[in-house]
């Protein structure tokens, strides 16, 4: 027999009554709840129970333990038949519970006081899966991490109690767990459907064969494009770190897909993105590599917020797959121009606004083939290279190259092309001498900051 467990987390502002929450779960066919844990203003409810008791309301549990000891006590006190047939054995060693996660706004780490002991973690194999981690050697110490992933239910097969070896994870079904509807979290900042789609995908940035596979393979074009054009401005470069000494800003960095290769090439990169979950994903991913950790910095903000403090500090600004999500392109380009040093480069990759891009880019890619998640792009926001060029020229950026990119969905690779009617990349250089109409841009900037007209939508 298998056991399944889960964790539900919610962010109440008032302290929830545990009993009420338990009964609600039981009613909805939930499973035995063991208890909830408090910490740092967030509640964690630990659920555990044998699968055979699903869909029955086994009775309520109310305990607010900060100790798993109470949970064990509770379990021991339950009648035999409600326990898994393997018997609920007390083990002084390992307690393994696989948990499932609810979609949450952000990754949360709960640390209980008196944190000791070892934490073991392991992950699920499939996409869209959450992942679990709980272990506790002594009852006072455990750390739990919750990731904002779509909910799935898992079946676990227990192995020996003293050693955790393997867990066989099968996705049974995916469904929204009842209690997400019970407690609408008021901590969410942006509540649009795009946020939800995006958040559900926030953990998938680094799956190279996943949803973002086209973006990963676009690096094969973008990185050489940026690298070669930047190297043209330098007399000689260090082998192994061609971009060392350069400061680069990656606007709308997402999970850091483009930021990390640039960091590996020696540049010091700042990646900004308005979505916090993306920044967290990116931070976590780069934290394992000590070299990248030093070279890359991530900030969850929008471009306007850093314009003031970082005027003319960057050798290059990269806005890859961003301008088709921006509301006010003119102001965006102005801000990019402001943070660039004179002679600095602006790199933009985006999608052209043509009939072909509607057919292939929206209808085919999103709706038919599913290459791009639905709702990522809106055709009205696509920018043609001519329009982009005129905006850039009027802001004092001289356009050096515009070149088309073509994606082959069968091979998964991108190619350069003469044809810019689908995707294209543009490189512009900020001119050395100041832009003549200085006063006009200042007015525009003032307008922009007062009515916050520029707020970047989420990029895919």
């Amino acid at each position: 027999m298998c056991l399944s467990g889960w964790v539900g987390a919610r962010f109440p502002h008032a302290q929830p009554t545990v009993r009420a929450s338990c009964s609600a779960h039981a009613r909805e066919g939930g499973q035995l709840l063991l208890g909830s844990v408090w910490g740092q203003g967030k509640t964690l409810t630990l659920g555990y129970g044998p699968r055979s008791l699903l869909n029955r309301g086994p009775g309520l549990l109310a305990c607010r333990p900060q100790r798993l000891g109470k949970i064990a006590e509770y379990l021991r006190s339950r009648p035999r038949r409600s326990q898994p047939s393997g018997r609920c054995r007390r083990s002084s060693d390992l307690c393994l519970i696989l948990v499932e996660f609810l979609p949450l706004e952000s990754a949360t780490t709960l640390c209980l006081p008196e944190s000791q002991g070892r934490v073991l973690s392991f992950a699920a194999a499939k996409r869209d899966t959450s992942f679990c981690l709980i272990y506790s050697k002594n009852q006072l110490s455990w750390t739990l991490q919750i990731k904002p992933w779509v909910f799935h239910e898992y079946r676990i097969m227990w192995s020996k109690s003293y050693r955790m070896t393997f867990a066989c994870l099968n996705t049974m079904k995916s469904y929204r767990y009842p209690w997400t509807r019970l407690y609408s979290t008021s901590r969410t900042t942006v509540d649009s459907s795009e946020v939800k789609t995006f958040l559900a995908l926030a953990h998938r940035w680094w799956d190279e064969q996943g949803v973002y596979a086209p973006l990963h393979s676009m690096n094969d074009l973008r990185v050489p494009f940026i690298r070669d054009n930047l190297l043209k401005t330098v007399a000689n470069h260090q082998p192994g770190k061609p971009l060392s000494g350069m400061k680069i800003l990656d606007v709308g960095c997402g999970g850091g897909l483009l930021t990390e290769p640039l960091g590996r090439l020696g540049a010091s990169v700042i990646g900004i993105d308005p979505v916090d979950a993306n920044i967290k994903t990116a931070q976590r991913h780069k934290s394992f590599d000590p070299v990248l950790d030093k070279r890359i910095e991530y900030r969850a903000c929008s471009l306007e917020e850093i314009v003031e403090e970082s005027t003319e500090t960057f050798d290059a600004v990269i806005a890859s797959e961003v301008v088709e999500h921006v509301i006010d392109l003119e102001t965006f380009i102005q801000c990019c121009c402001q943070v660039l040093k004179p002679g600095g480069s602006l790199f933009i990759t985006t999608i052209n606004k043509t009939q072909l891009s509607y057919v292939l880019g929206i209808v085919f890619s999103e709706q038919i083939a599913g290459i791009v998640p639905k709702g990522t792009h809106t055709w009205e926001k696509f920018v043609s290279p001519e329009k982009l060029e005129s905006i850039m020229e009027s802001n004092g950026l001289s356009v050096q190259t515009v070149v088309g990119m073509l994606y082959n969905p069968f091979s998964g690779h991108w190619h350069w092309s003469e044809n810019t009617s689908l995707n294209y990349a543009a490189h512009a250089v900020k001119q050395e001498h100041p832009v003549p109409a200085e006063t006009e841009t200042e007015e525009l900037r003032a307008q922009a900051s007062t009515n916050s007209s520029v707020h970047e939508e989420l990029k895919k």
Binding site: R67, L68, G69, I71, A72, P84, G86, R89, R90, S91, S92, D93, L94, C95, A107, R118, V119, L120, S121, F122, A123, A125, K126, F131, L133, S136, N138, Q139, Q145, M157, W158, S159, K160, S161, F166, C168, H203, W206, D207, E208, H216, S217, N219, D220, P224, R227, Q238, P239, G240, K241, E260, P261, R264, L265, G266, R284, H285, F288, P290, V291
Partner: protein, 469 residues
């Protein structure tokens, strides 16, 4: 109070979606910030050491950390021994180019090597022969002792010691593979545990640890392999008279091919693949009998039958009629006078091919990926070919700032090399099986095939080009 619940149920569960053994990657609580190596090469043989040299020399790897793990001690060669070693390799021009690209070939040239310009391959059961040579009599390949190559590579590694670290006497005992998907707080790197208990982390692990590769077994990669019922006997021979000795000789006997490779004007190296019993007999017999056995293996015509001879002369007339310009007559190899004492050794032969050369953060090169019969002299050359391909892919990846363990360029390497290696392995296996019989139909078939191939020089050139890549 002891809290915890554990319900033990079934035994360890079968692993479903993972391609390898699933071991949970522990969070190293309180572990210091270990260096994360960019590349660790496991196995410091000919191919492993050459891989480390090539990477250390590559310009895009200048700021990367490379580590070579070798289980044996460091072999220092103060001066070149007078006697030749009995293990030699035939180095193709492509491999020589690779070795010279990172400066090891110069060390070899300063020690000793022998270039050969022609190769004659003929059958014991018929008159058919094939003679390979380049039109302008360029070097077809080089015979170099394995110890000499190893010493050159060690010297080169010392020169690159600021980029490549070599750990001698370190054997990896276990490996921990990263998860397929990024998972919070579990390290995305490969963890290697050494015999002394220390651990290393690396972004890419290259397995170059021979045909019983521990890396390949730990990764659970399937290996298609079988043992030939043959062992190879190697020895160092003294020729009866000094000759120019720039020809490599190979004769296919029904028991297996015998090859004589030139080492110097008066010495040659012997590689004789034959059945286990015969090999044991050869190694243990006294020197005179051994020398007689070698000479008669190369010279005697006992396996010829009249019918086959007649058939071959027919084809020969036909060929000379159609293509009268080039006539290759069968030459006989030099005769052997003595054998170096204690240079007779035997080792078993087999074929092996890994079903996958790469996994995320893992690549196999050399004998770990493929093991071949020495009849074509291609074993180490395939390994060097793997090195050139992998270094090319890794170099481009490093210059593009890619994560070195990413499957996108590793699969490029795998496709590249599997195509080449599978063809060569299949051809070598086919030749071995074809020539291990003396049944007349097959003898006729192979005789005609050999004579026809000999007559068609573009085909010969293609074969030579394929083998020397």
């Amino acid at each position: 109070m002891a809290a915890l619940l554990a319900v033990s149920r079934c035994g360890p569960a079968p692993i479903a979606a993972w391609k390898g053994p699933l071991v949970p990657c522990r969070r190293w609580a309180g572990a210091p910030a270990d260096t994360v190596y960019d590349v660790v090469v496991s196995g410091g043989g000919l191919v492993g050491a050459a891989m480390a040299c090539a990477l250390g020399h590559d310009i895009h790897f200048h700021d990367k950390k490379i580590l070579l793990l070798e289980a044996g001690p460091k072999k220092v060669l103060e001066k070149l021994p007078e006697t030749y070693s009995n293990r030699v390799s035939s180095i193709s021009p492509g491999s020589a180019t690779l070795l010279s690209s990172f400066g090891a070939w110069d060390h070899i040239c300063n020690m000793r090597y022998r270039a050969f310009r022609r190769m004659q391959v003929w059958d014991a059961c018929s008159e058919a022969l094939i003679m390979f040579d380049k039109d302008n009599l360029d070097d077809m390949g080089y015979i170099v002792e394995n110890d000499v190559i190893m010493h050159a590579l060690t010297k080169q590694l010392e020169a690159l010691s600021d980029r490549v670290t070599v750990l001698y006497r370190s054997k990896a005992v276990s490996y921990t593979w990263p998860y397929m998907l990024p998972v919070a707080d579990s390290s995305p790197w490969v963890h290697i545990t050494l015999g002394d208990g220390s651990t290393l982390q690396t972004k890419l692990l290259i397995g170059a640890d021979g045909h019983n590769s521990g890396v390949r077994q730990a990764a659970g990669i399937q290996n298609v392999s079988w043992n030939y019922d043959q062992s190879a006997v190697v020895a160092t021979l003294h020729l009866s008279e000094a000759t120019e000795n720039n020809v490599a000789w190979q004769r296919f006997l029904p028991s297996g091919p015998i090859a004589m490779l030139p080492l110097s004007d008066t010495m040659s190296s012997l590689v004789w693949s034959t059945s286990h019993e015969h090999a044991a007999e050869l190694v243990s017999m006294n020197e005179e009998n051994f020398v007689d056995a070698i000479n008669s293996a190369f010279w005697s015509d006992t396996n010829h039958t009249d019918f086959v001879d007649w058939a071959s002369s027919m084809l020969h007339y036909a060929v000379t009629f159609l293509k009268p310009t080039k006539v290759s007559a069968r030459q006989l190899p030099p005769s052997v006078a003595r054998v170096d004492a204690k240079s007779r050794v035997l080792f078993p032969l087999g074929l092996g091919h890994a079903a996958e050369y790469v996994r995320p953060r893992l690549a196999l090169i050399g004998d770990a990926a493929h093991r071949v019969h020495p009849l074509a002299g291609q074993g180490v050359n395939m390994g060097f070919g793997d090195i050139s391909s992998l270094v090319c892919h890794l170099s481009t990846a490093a210059f593009n700032g890619k994560d070195l363990g990413s499957m996108s360029h590793l699969t490029g390497y795998e496709t590249d090399r599997q195509r080449h290696n599978t063809a060569l392995l299949a051809a070598t296996d086919l030749l071995k099986r074809l020539y291990s019989t003396s049944a007349t139909p097959l003898v006729l078939l192979r005789m005609w095939g050999l004579q026809a191939t000999n007559a068609v020089s573009p085909l010969k050139e293609q074969i030579m080009a394929f083998a020397s890549r």
